[in-house]
Amino acid sequence: MSDFAIEAHGLTKRFGATLALDHLDLVVEAGEVFGLLGPNGAGKTTAIRLLLGLARASEGSIRVFGIDVAANPVRAHRRLAYVPGEVSLWPGLTGHDCLELMMSLSGRGDKAYRSELVDRFHLDPTRKIRTLSKGNRQKVALIAALASRADLLVFDEPTSGLDPLMEREFRVAVQEATQRGQTILLSSHILSEVDALCSKVALLQNGKLIEVATLDAMRAIASVRVDLEFEGPAPDLAAVPGIKVMEQRDGHVSLQVSGGTQALMAALRSTTVTSLLSREASLEELFFARYGPGATPP
C-alpha cells in the first residue's frame, strides 16, 4: 500500500479554452490535514472533482492510496467521503433519511458516532431537507462524511454556512478524525480555520500550484511582521533588501521582513529604537502577501 493518501502528477484540466488546472503535482501523506488555498477560480474545486473522479483529467493522473481514480473509481470511492461546497440533497427526504441512505451506499460507517455528531451539531434529523437552512443542510453532509470513518475525507469549503459554534464543533471533529489516522483534504477561504487545522497547505492561483509547504516552514520562509517605534522621525528603510514597509507614520514603522533579519539589524544600528515588536505572520498576511494588491509573484 502506498504511504501517500493522494498523489497527483501533471494533473491538468481544460474547459474549452479555460485552463482550470495546469500540471498540478501534489502529494498528501496519509494522516495529514491538508489545506487547499487560493482566490476564487483558482482551481480548488476542479482539483477536488478530479480527485473524486467526478471529472476526468485532460492530462496527468491522480491516485488515492495508490489507486488510480480514473481507472478504478469504485475502489477509490471505498476509501473516501466527500462534502461539496454547495450541498444539494433531496428536498423531500428528512435529514435522517439522507444520513441512512449515504451510510448504506458507502457500505461503512459508525452509527453510534453518527448519533453523537447529530447531537453535537444540534441537527434535527426528523425535518425534511426542504425546510432546513443552508447551514443545517451542510451539517447533514458533514455528519454523513465524518460518520463514514472513511480513510480520506474531502471537504470543499465545508464550513461556509456554519455558525461559529458549529465551526468549532467541526474543528473538534476533524481533530478526532486525525487522531484516528484519517487523512483530510480541505479547501477553505476561512484562513483561521486552515491555520488551526492544517499541517500543510498548497496555494493555488490560476490553476497553478504556487507553493506547498507546512505552515511552520511557510512562516519561516515567509515574513516576520516587525513593528518599530523610534525616538524622533523614523529612518527610510524601504531600500533595505528583504524589507517591505507596510505602514509608516511619525516615529512608527510596520515592516514585513523576509529572508532573515540581519539586514534590518544592520540598518537599525545608527538609530534609537524605543520599542521593537516582532511576530510571525498570520496565514492571512501570507495570503495577502501572495495574492493581495502589489503582491510579488514567486
Binding site: 471529472a55 461539496p84 444539494s88 433519511d97 448504506s104 458507502s106
Partner: protein, 534 residues
C-alpha cells in the same frame, strides 16, 4: 410598468409563450386529426345518423365526454370527440404554468430578490400574471390560425369566426385555471402541494359536470361547475359570446382574491403549512429505494391517468365499434384483408393513445436522472462505491419495468372497461395489445438514456419533443398531407396495430432493439464524461 416589474414579466415570458405555442399546436393538430377523419370514418348520412343515435342517447358516454349534440355534423362530432380532452389538457397546462411561475420560483428562492427590488409584492404578482396572459394569448393565436387554416378545406368548412370562437373558449379555460393555480400558489407551499390543490379543484369541477351530464334530470348541476360553463360554449356548433360572462366574472374574482392575499403571507410560504407526516417512512437504503421514494407518487399518478384513459376507451369501445362496423371503413378494411371488427379498430386507436402516454411517462421519468445530475445531488451518490454506469442503467431498467407494468395494466383495464360497457374482448389479446403499446416507449426510453448520458441539459426537453414530433407526423399523414414520406420517422408508425392487425414481431423487436442499443451506448459513455451541474 417599472423596470423591475418589466424584468419580472420577461422572466416568466419564455416559459409561458413557449408552452402556449406548444399547447396551441397540439390543440390545433387534434382538431385537424379529428375533423380530417370524420369524412373517412363516417362518409354516409346513414353512418352519421347511427353515430348520433348511439352516442347521443348513451348517458355514460355523455357523463364522461359531455353532452353529444349534433353528432351528424362535422362540428358537433369534433366538439364531442375533443371538447373534454382539450379542456382538461388546457386546464392542466395553465394550472401547472401558474404554479411553476409563482410557487416554483419562490421554492427556488428566486422570488426573494424580486420582492427586495423596488416593486411591491402586488406588482410582482401582476407582472407574473401578465406573462401568463401573454402565454395564453400565444396559445389562442396559434390554435386560431391552425383551425382557421383547416376550416378552409372544402371537406371541413369551419368558418373563421367559429375557429376563433373555439380558440377563445380554450383561452377562457386557460385563464380560469391559471388563476386557480395563482390562488392555490398563495395558499400552499411547496409547488407540488399547490399543484395538487389546483388539480383537486379541477377534478371536483369535472365530477360535478359528469353528474350534470349523466341525465336530463340532473342537467342543472352542470351550472355549478365552471367546466359546465365551458361546455355550454359549444364551439363549432353554436356561437354564444354571452357564455363567456360567468367565466370572466369568476376569473376576476379569483384574481382579486389572489392580489389581496399575496401581501398577507410570507415570501416562500403559503397560508396552510404542510403538516408533519403521520407516520415515519422507512429511509431509502439503496438506489432502488431512493427511486421509489422520489418517483413513487409521480409513477402512481401516471398509472392512474393511464388506467382512467384505458377504462374510458374500453367502456365506449362497443358503441364506437358498432358505428365503425356500420360505416364503410369496415368494408374498406375488409377489402384490404383486415378482418377487424369495428371495436377492434377502435381499440387499436385506444392503444395508440396508451402508447403516447407511456412514451411521455418513460421519457419524463428518465429525464429525472439528468435533473439529479444537474442539481448536484448525483455528486454524493457518484462518490459512493457504486459504478457510475450502474447508476444510469439501474434508472433505465426501473423505468422500463414501470413502462411494462403500466402497459400490462392498460391492457387489463381496457378489457375490464369493454366488459363494463357490455362488450367482449379477449383478455389475452388486450394484454398483448397493451404490451405492444410499450414498444415505442421502450425505444424512446433508450434514446433518452443516451441523451442523458451525453447532454444532460437536453434530456428534459428531448422526450416530449420526440413524442410530439412523432404525433405531428402521424396526424399530418393521417389527414392526407404530403407528410406520408416522413412516417418512418415516427415511433408510432412501427408499433403493431393490435388488436385490429396482428402482432408484428419484426417491427416490435426492431423498436426494442433500437432502445436497448441506444441505452447500452449511453451506459458505456456516461462514466466517461464529467458530471455537470447547473
Amino acid at each position: 410598468m417599472t423596470r423591475a416589474a418589466f424584468a419580472t414579466f420577461r422572466q416568466g415570458l419564455n416559459r409561458s409563450v413557449m408552452g402556449g405555442v406548444m399547447v396551441g399546436l397540439v390543440a390545433g393538430l387534434m382538431v385537424a386529426s379529428v375533423a380530417g377523419s370524420y369524412n373517412t370514418l363516417y362518409p354516409t348520412a346513414q353512418s352519421r345518423e347511427d353515430l348520433s343515435i348511439i352516442f347521443g342517447a348513451n348517458h355514460a358516454v355523455s357523463a364522461l365526454f359531455g353532452r353529444a349534440t349534433s353528432l351528424n355534423s362535422l362540428g358537433g362530432f369534433t366538439n364531442f370527440k375533443l371538447g373534454t380532452t382539450i379542456t382538461i389538457t388546457i386546464a392542466l397546462w395553465a394550472l401547472l404554468l401558474a404554479t411553476r411561475l409563482l410557487r416554483g420560483e419562490e421554492d427556488a428562492g428566486r422570488a426573494d430578490w424580486l420582492v427586495m427590488s423596488d416593486q411591491s409584492r402586488r406588482d410582482v404578482l401582476m407582472a407574473q400574471m401578465a406573462s401568463m396572459v401573454t402565454g395564453i394569448v400565444a396559445m389562442v393565436v396559434v390554435t386560431g390560425i391552425i383551425v382557421m387554416a383547416i376550416g378552409r378545406e372544402a371537406s371541413v368548412g369551419f368558418s373563421a369566426s367559429s375557429a376563433w370562437y373555439f380558440a377563445l373558449s380554450l383561452g377562457a379555460t386557460a385563464m380560469l385555471f391559471a388563476l386557480v393555480g395563482v390562488l392555490s400558489s398563495q395558499f400552499f407551499a411547496p409547488r407540488h402541494r399547490a399543484s395538487r390543490a389546483g388539480g383537486i379543484v379541477l377534478g371536483v369541477a369535472y365530477g360535478i359536470r359528469m353528474v350534470g351530464d349523466a341525465s336530463a334530470a340532473t342537467a342543472w348541476v352542470s351550472w355549478l361547475s365552471p367546466l359546465g360553463w365551458i361546455e355550454s360554449l359549444n364551439p363549432f356548433v353554436t356561437t354564444r359570446p354571452f357564455g363567456f360572462i360567468p367565466i370572466a366574472c369568476l376569473s376576476l374574482v379569483l384574481a382579486a382574491v389572489a392580489l389581496l392575499s399575496v401581501t398577507q403571507r410570507d415570501v416562500g410560504a403559503g397560508f396552510f403549512e404542510e403538516r408533519a407526516p403521520r407516520h415515519v417512512r422507512q429511509p431509502p437504503r439503496n438506489l432502488v429505494g431512493l427511486f421509489v421514494r422520489l418517483e413513487g407518487v409521480t409513477i402512481s399518478s401516471w398509472f392512474i391517468a393511464l388506467g382512467v384513459t384505458a377504462l374510458l376507451f374500453g367502456f365506449v369501445a362497443k358503441s364506437a365499434g358498432t358505428v365503425v362496423a356500420n360505416s364503410s371503413i369496415a368494408q374498406v378494411l375488409k377489402r384490404l384483408g383486415i378482418a377487424a371488427s369495428g371495436m377492434n379498430t377502435y381499440l387499436s386507436i385506444a392503444f395508440l393513445i396508451t402508447s403516447v402516454l407511456l412514451c411521455l411517462f418513460a421519457t419524463i421519468t428518465m429525464a429525472g436522472f439528468s435533473d439529479e445530475e444537474l442539481s448536484g445531488r448525483l455528486d454524493l451518490v457518484a462518490t459512493s462505491p457504486t459504478p457510475r454506469a450502474k447508476l444510469l442503467m439501474q434508472r433505465s431498467i426501473l423505468v422500463a419495468l414501470a413502462v411494462l407494468i403500466g402497459s400490462l395494466l392498460a391492457g387489463m383495464v381496457v378489457s375490464l372497461g369493454v366488459m363494463c360497457g357490455g362488450g367482449h374482448a379477449a383478455v389475452f389479446t388486450m394484454i398483448e395489445a397493451g404490451l405492444v403499446s410499450a414498444s415505442p416507449a421502450l425505444c424512446l426510453l433508450g434514446l433518452i438514456t443516451l441523451i442523458a448520458a451525453i447532454r444532460p441539459r437536453w434530456a428534459k426537453a428531448a422526450g416530449p419533443t420526440l413524442v410530439m414530433a412523432s404525433f405531428v407526423i402521424e396526424v399530418a399523414a393521417g389527414i392526407g398531407t404530403s407528410a406520408h414520406g416522413l412516417l418512418p420517422l415516427s415511433v408510432f408508425h412501427w408499433m403493431a396495430t393490435v388488436p385490429a392487425g396482428s402482432f408484428d414481431l419484426a417491427s416490435t423487436a426492431a423498436l426494442i432493439a433500437i432502445g436497448v442499443g441506444a441505452g447500452l451506448v449511453g451506459v458505456w459513455i456516461f462514466p466517461r464524461r464529467d458530471l455537470q451541474t447547473r
